[in-house]
């Protein structure tokens, strides 16, 4: 499912939908909470830095794992220093600076592609435990 993110309302809608999606693939309360947090952190960053963009989530499975792939796509100014952005309490936007490092700790796989030309594409995988 792909959801356009343009205002704070969209963040809530996206995290609500993601929560239901996670529930449907059999995740428990803690897992669905984590999924909804990942979505809302990513969506919040989109609004804060890129103004608008998309979040997308889909089911992924390997022979031993089943989980959810969450993506955030925007055409914003891109993340200048990915390494720094993943450090705790580093924020260029005056917030806690725990969004991306938090996602990294919560999730199983975090992949960031970000250049000023192509914008930002973040992929997060979270496996059902």
């Amino acid at each position: 499912m792909t959801i356009r993110i343009k205002s704070e309302n969209d963040i809530h809608y996206a995290s609500h939908e993601a929560m239901n999606f996670a529930k449907d693939i059999g995740m428990n309360t803690l897992e669905t909470t984590k999924v909804s947090i990942i979505i809302s952190e990513l969506a919040y960053n989109i609004i804060k830095y890129a103004e608008s963009g998309f979040v997308r989530f889909s089911k992924v499975s390997t022979h031993k794992n089943e989980g959810i792939l969450i993506e955030a796509i925007d055409n914003g100014p891109s993340i200048k220093d990915i390494e720094k952005a993943l450090k705790d309490n580093y924020s260029t936007g005056g917030s806690l600076g725990l969004g991306l490092p938090g996602i990294k700790r919560i999730s199983d796989l975090l992949e960031i592609n970000s250049t000023p030309e192509t914008g930002t594409h973040i992929k997060v995988t979270y496996w059902k435990k």
């Binding site: 809530h12 309360t29 803690l30 909470t33 947090i37 919040y44 917030s95 806690l96 490092p101 938090g102």
Partner: protein, 295 residues
């Protein structure tokens, strides 16, 4: 949700409606317009069989008015003078439908009914194949354009309704209450976005200064999502209350929320938190040197 609003010229561009199409419609007009009253009648015959009829058209005066509007709608259609006034009339049709809650289904079924009757009339005319094709294409284009305008304005009103509802909810959503002298409680249910966080902040600080509160309990057991943005808001609220000499206790942290906050790496060091409201009230009473005893 924003609606991209096109003016009459842009709509004609979008549907490829040309001077040729308008001419074709004009050629068909004298024949078609004669049939419209009969079509309206047959449409209401069908409508009478639906559940919606009783709800919306049972009153004869209303029925008469709606039928008259329908006649003038089609008259305007065949005049095909597509300007901003034309678009505005179509828009208002959609808005009316949305306000009274008439389903899109009924409206779309109606459009389909009229379109197929017009085609029927068209096909029995003794005209060249080419002319008939031209008129048919023109009919399709303009009917579809009308449909888009109406559906879009319908959607616009529905969105406005939703916005209005959420505003009402928002207004009711920060009910600060005084539990005891010096003790305030605010249960938050639902979502905390930046606007609501600001509301909570304003309301709370005002209450604290009015009631000289020493303790303030913010119960978040009804908050589904506590991400870093929400946590940031909560931290700011507790800091501000502290500056006013009031201790803030956040109660109602569910196991899932607590675990997620830890994993996100949020430092809650100085904030007093409890698992439930009862524990928070006990702490607050302790601070006020009070105790609840059984009689």
């Amino acid at each position: 949700m924003e609606v991209i609003s096109r003016n009459a010229t842009q709509l004609c561009d979008l549907y490829g409606i040309t001077k040729e199409d308008i001419d074709a419609i004009h050629e068909f007009k004298p024949v078609a317009i004669n049939e419209v009253p009969k079509m309206v009648e047959s449409w209401y015959k069908w409508l009478k069989t639906t559940a919606e009829f009783q709800e919306y058209f049972a009153d004869p005066a209303t029925l008469h008015r709606v039928q008259r509007m329908q006649l003038s709608f089609w008259e305007e259609f065949f005049d095909a003078n597509i300007d901003d006034q034309y678009v505005a009339t179509r828009k208002s049709v959609g808005e009316v439908h949305a306000r009274i809650g008439l389903s899109q289904e009924i409206y779309l079924a109606g459009v389909d009914h009229f379109l197929s009757l017009f085609i029927e009339v068209l096909l029995i005319q003794d005209w060249s194949r080419e002319k008939i094709d031209k008129i048919r294409r023109a009919l399709n284009k303009i009917v579809h354009m009308d449909m888009t305008i109406i559906v879009q304005s319908y959607e616009h009103i529905v969105n406005q309704k939703i916005t209005a509802q959420s505003k009402t909810l928002m207004a009711m959503s920060t009910p600060v209450t005084q539990l005891w002298d010096g003790l305030l409680l605010l249960p938050v249910v639902g979502l905390i976005d930046s606007r609501r966080a600001q509301d909570i902040m304003d309301n709370t600080l005002n209450y604290i200064s009015q009631h000289h509160a020493q303790s303030f309990i913010l119960d978040i057991s009804g908050v589904a999502v506590v991400d870093t943005a929400v946590a940031n808001h909560l931290i700011k609220i507790t800091k501000a209350t502290k500056l006013m000499g009031c201790e803030c206790i956040i109660s109602g942290l569910s196991p899932a929320v607590a675990q997620t906050i830890v994993e996100l790496g949020i430092d809650v060091g100085t904030i007093r938190t409890t698992a439930n409201l009862k524990a928070a009230i006990e702490i607050a009473f302790e601070k006020l040197n009070m105790k609840i005893v059984k009689k």
